[in-house]
Amino acid sequence: MKTLAEMTHYEVLEVGPEVDSEELERAYRLARSAYAEDSLALYSVFSAEESSALSSRIEQAYRVLADSDQRREYDASLGSEVACEDEIKIALDLAVENEPAPQDSFEAMREVTEFDGFEEDAEGPFDGAWLRRSRLRTGVEIEQIATITKINPSYLRFIEEENFEDLPAPVYVRGFVAAYARCIGLDPERVVSSYMKRLEVAPKSEPRRSQRKWR
């Protein structure tokens, strides 16, 4: 994984080299709010110094890309690297377009997608539905956790759905759940311990959905 210093301005703001001014502005605002020092998603992930460095890097990236002259010079300095990234992006877009449609339906997912009865419950068991409620309570999107943790958003969704069948080996799940918990300000140890117990007893042959409704 690249360090902050190694990332291009485009990577910092998570936009492609073709980004227009409107999209750039949105990306900048999103990055600024996601990595703000008081961000709920990050306060347990980064120290104040790290948050400050991230914010400075975001400001620097935006300053350059928002100014057409500076951006032209910067693009020239990137040279073929940008062209290469363009190709990768096109390939990724094609991969997404060709991805088979997910098998879920709203009805099948209802017990985890229902919003009714969302209430605080500080005690476990910390199942997938509970994690999702906690995430929503902090106003954090799956994509934001994915961006921060570099975990595939599908896996984060499978964790919430308790779709154990489609998750990788438990050793990875343990790490994913810990990272997820940290992102939304939960105690990773408690969450991981509770969640992994559910995974251990889950039937191996079919995906298991959380039995808990939104409360």
Binding site: A101, T113, F115, V140, E143
Partner: protein
């Protein structure tokens, strides 16, 4: 249960909730954008999401900030901008 009174938090909640609607219903969002009937097609989910949002957010803040409706556009519509449709 205390309600959210900070407009920024309300905005964040609206975006998170609608992002979930999109994440959990990708094909229906795509079909809704393509056929230009997104809000009708996702009516039950959006009603549920809005009801949830309104229960969690102070009514005055919800009205003044217009956070939910703004997030509808920012999240559901803007993030679907690459889907081919006669909308654009």
């Amino acid at each position: 249960m205390s309600r959210i009174t900070d407009p920024q938090r309300a905005q964040r909640l609206a975006r998170a909730v609608l992002s979930d609607v999109m994440l959990y219903n990708p094909e229906r969002v795509r079909a809704g954008i393509e056929a230009d009937d997104l809000f009708d097609r996702l009516r039950p989910e959006l009603d549920e999401a809005r009801a949830f949002f309104e229960r969690r957010v102070d009514p005055e803040v919800a009205t003044k900030s217009n956070a939910f409706d703004l997030a509808l556009v920012d999240v559901l519509v803007f993030r679907s901008r690459r889907i081919r449709s006669r909308i654009w």
